[in-house]
């Protein structure tokens, strides 16, 4: 019980440190990069006086440390600040988008997990020249497919030719939930194709190395069915590394969604982040980046917990392996 408590405390601590560092780095990055939010807002026609007045109003003429601490204080009291360009509270702007991006990421994640684990298990059989090269080509092709390209292809095939969904007309989760999910599904497909290929490749390599282990040979030589050995022993042992990899994938998906969101016209978080960066909308960028950091740490923790439940050696407090589990 105490180990579990210590573990959760350590995780929460890690989460806080990560978010703190990420937010500080975001603030610093904007400090170093050129471009002034006040000037970006006012555009080319503004006079110097107007820019200075707006800088003062937005508090940009205050020292860096003061601005950061003020923001941090606001953040911990649940106030994410007000967007510079929209002049509206940040949370109201991003909450709906966060929801969409979560749906998109989770759908892609489910697709990846459901497709790549069985495929990884089966694909170890396709070795040798004859069965091997189509598999390798297909795998390479899928990995090389950039989501923006699949996005265009999918929109063209399913949107324009087959009219299953309407690219450029995202219905919104509240207005038409099934329609919105259908739209998001195609985004998820584009996002998951290269990652399925990567996971399958990784899984295959692990399965092959496991299959060469002594225990497998022993199990088979003792008369066990090959398929049974594969699902009962090899799968379980291969899963640890796959889960870690999937954890990383889950973390990456949110960022990777940016391009797909743009091509398919999904008003998600990634798209908002990109525009906010070019508008120098610090409050929005900081909020999104911290949320993404939170998400990454969360995905890592989830992967950790699952790995531990699969492989008891990784559990905390059980010898050397415990350190690996906490990292």
């Amino acid at each position: 019980m105490t180990t579990a408590l210590r573990y959760s405390l350590r995780r929460v601590f890690l989460l806080l440190i990560t978010m703190l560092l990420v937010s500080l780095l975001t603030y610093l990055a904007f400090e170093l990069v050129s471009g002034d939010p006040a000037r970006t807002m006012l555009g080319t026609e503004a006079t110097e006086d107007q820019v200075q007045a707006l800088r003062h109003e937005m508090g940009l003429d205050r020292p860096f440390a003061e601005r950061y601490i003020r923001w941090l204080g606001g953040f911990f009291s649940g106030d994410l600040g007000v967007s510079y360009s929209y002049r509206q509270p940040v949370w109201g702007l991003i909450s709906g988008k966060l929801e969409l991006t979560l749906w998109l990421s989770l759908m892609s994640f489910v697709l990846i997990a459901l497709i790549s684990i069985p495929m990884g298990l089966i694909s170890y059989r396709f070795t040798g020249w004859f069965a091997g090269w189509p598999r390798t080509v297909l795998n390479q092709l899928c990995m090389a497919l950039p989501p923006f390209f699949t996005g265009i292809l999918v929109s063209w095939c399913f949107g324009i030719a087959l009219r299953v969904f309407t690219p450029g007309d995202f219905p919104g989760l509240r207005n038409d939930f099934p329609g919105a999910l259908r739209h998001l599904f195609f985004g998820a497909v584009c996002l998951s194709i290269p990652r399925i290929a990567m996971t399958v490749r990784m899984m295959r390599a692990t399965v092959i190395s496991e299959m060469n282990m002594a225990y497998v040979r022993t199990a088979i030589s003792r008369g066990n069915d090959r398929a049974a050995v594969l699902t009962r022993h090899v799968l379980k042992n291969s899963l640890v590394s796959v889960v870690t990899f999937l954890g990383q994938t889950l973390a990456e998906l949110v960022g990777a969604g940016i391009v797909v969101e743009q091509v398919l016209g999904i008003p998600g978080l990634g798209r908002f982040l990109v525009t906010s960066i070019s508008h120098r909308d610090y409050p929005v960028v900081s909020a999104i980046v911290v949320i993404l950091a939170f998400w990454v740490v969360l995905a890592g923790t989830a992967a950790d917990l699952i790995s531990q439940s699969i492989d008891p050696r990784l559990r905390l407090g059980s010898g050397k392996a415990g350190i690996r589990g906490a990292a």
């Binding site: 002034d36 080319t44 109003e57 309407t166 690219p167 908002f272 960066i277 508008h279």
Partner: protein, 527 residues
């Protein structure tokens, strides 16, 4: 490695297959006569009708490439926001499609003979979108806050000539400290807003033909017809603006039937569209696109170097290579929409002549050319493409140019405001229908003279032009300024970019303005 190459080849093949469905030949713009067999077009027409159920509901969906900034007219600065909210807000006067300033919330405007006072008579029965009538208090409030409101960011510098406002019944008299030919244009941008309303940010209220319904950040903005509009009411019941930042997203949106109209398209976007489904209208962007040179930086502080670049750059080649031939070549800081001020003869002042260019470079001490950097805002693809073509054209005279793309925020800060650049490609506009904005910025002491152009004769003519109240004299002086810029090769002037608009068949009434606005009130489905 081999496998990777194979994979890449396959991807490329797929890519080409994906593009195969679109005609490779450049279509005739605007006219778009159907060359397709009759049965083919009949089929696509029925498909188009099926694709737009909005025709039956009397509404349309318009694609735009960037989100709106603030909806509060005091703080909206993005050209794309003003372009759309033109339909929601009006000043005492407003622009007409042919570039005149016509009465709007005021029914009559009388200018005194000395040009020092204007009388605006309020129009009867004008209502705000919230149902309240427009009263003199609202008008005073709206003008005052843009003239000397406590928020400097909201002030319009062109209104600083106001001396006093006085209201008498429904007549507003504005007296000026000095005559100004730009005053009415500034009044046009001082939108009339309800004085006691504080929610412009989230739910804007104006007097225009369309009223605000809803907005979803980075997704859409919806307008509906304002039934109590004082003038000609809009034809469509509802207009939805869909925000799609990606160029492919906009084209896919048109093809899928999600969108009915998209403006500011590039020629390679328009060729992807089915000519049986869309008309392509061609207007002009009303901007001066040029290779702007930092006149204070070496080697552009030497007039011979600047002239050499002008002789070397073939404007038509830029238009042909980067814009498929759409665009009007320019020779100075003025475009044809300002026909009164536009001097067409300056366009061909420099005709491509590489020998002359090389001779001038040698004379200036650069017989082997030099290296230069063209800093471009990376979010403006047309400017980036133009810079790429310029690199090739300048190579002919031994000038090695490199393109440096930077993001918009950096461009504004470093190039436009700190003037730390060698050269840049951008388009300068006039947002209030006065030629002054295009010329005043090259005065040597003017705050937004980012090219550091400094010419004593120019300053002298400019001062004279701005102080005169005589319109004919001012026009003549403006033309002299244009000639000065051309002769001294202040910048390498290129073109007024074409504005290509894809309009779904069945939709008519698209009106071009000499301003960056999209008037939806004249749009409608053909009955």
């Amino acid at each position: 490695m081999k496998k990777t190459i194979l994979a890449l080849t396959l991807v490329l093949a797929l890519l080409l297959a994906g593009c195969g469905g679109t005609p490779a030949a450049s279509p005739a713009p605007s006219a778009a006569p159907s060359e397709a067999p009759a049965e083919d077009s009949a089929e696509t027409v029925s498909e188009a009708a099926a694709a737009s159920p909005r025709a039956a509901a009397n509404e349309i969906s318009i694609g735009i490439a960037q989100d709106f900034d603030s909806l509060d007219p005091d703080y909206m600065t993005a050209a794309g926001t003003k372009e759309v909210l033109f339909n929601v807000f009006e000043g005492l006067v407003k622009p007409s499609p042919d570039g005149e300033i016509i009465p709007a919330v005021a029914s009559e405007v009388v200018k005194s003979d000395d040009g020092l006072s204007y009388q605006f008579t309020l129009r009867d029965g004008v209502k705000f979108h919230n149902g309240d009538p427009v009263e003199m208090d609202d008008v005073l409030y709206s003008i005052e806050r843009r003239w000397k409101g406590e928020d400097t960011a909201a002030q319009l510098s062109a209104l600083s000539v106001i001396d006093n406002l006085s209201a008498d019944g429904n007549v507003l008299t504005i007296s000026l400290t000095e005559p100004s030919n730009e005053f009415l244009a500034a009044v046009m941008n001082a939108y009339i807003l309800p004085s006691d309303y504080t929610k412009q940010e989230t739910s804007p209220v104006g007097t225009g033909p369309y009223r605000f319904v809803s907005r979803a950040v980075q997704d859409s903005l919806v307008l509906e017809r304002f039934p109590d509009y004082w003038g000609t009411p809009g034809r469509l019941d509802k207009v939805t603006f869909k925000i799609l930042e990606s160029a492919d997203g906009l084209v896919l949106g048109l093809q899928s039937g999600a969108l009915d109209l998209v403006a500011h398209l590039s020629s390679d976007q328009t060729v992807q569209l089915d000519q049986n489904e869309f008309n392509i209208a061609e207007g002009s962007m009303n901007l001066v696109q040029a290779l702007y040179l930092n006149n204070a930086e070496k080697p552009f502080d030497d007039v011979r170097v600047r002239q050499a670049l002008c002789w070397a750059v073939d404007k038509q080649a830029v238009i042909d290579l980067a814009f498929d031939g759409y665009g009007i070549p320019l020779g100075t800081s003025m475009f044809p929409s300002f026909s009164k001020y536009y001097d067409e003869s300056l366009t061909d002042y420099y005709t491509p002549d590489l020998e002359k260019a090389k001779a001038l470079l040698a004379e200036a001490g650069y017989p082997d050319g030099f290296e230069m950097t063209i800093t471009v805002p990376s979010n403006y693809t047309p400017h980036v493409n133009t810079a790429t073509v310029l690199v090739e054209l300048l190579r002919e005279i031994g000038v090695k140019a490199t393109v440096q793309p930077v993001d918009w925020g950096t461009w504004l800060e470093e190039v436009y405001s700190n003037r730390k650049f060698q050269s840049t490609v951008t388009g300068l506009t006039s947002d209030n229908m006065t030629a002054r904005k295009l010329l005043e910025r090259f005065g040597s002491t003017v705050g937004n003279n980012f090219t550091n152009y400094s010419n004593a004769e120019y300053d002298e003519i400019l001062a004279k032009a701005l102080s005169t109240a005589d319109d004919a004299e001012q026009t003549e002086l403006y033309k002299q300024l244009e000639r000065n810029l051309t002769e001294n090769a202040a910048n390498v002037y290129l073109q007024d970019m074409a504005d290509l608009v894809a309009v779904r068949k069945g939709l008519d009434g698209l009106t071009f303005y000499p301003l960056y606005v999209l008037d939806v009130s004249t749009l409608g489905w053909t009955a």
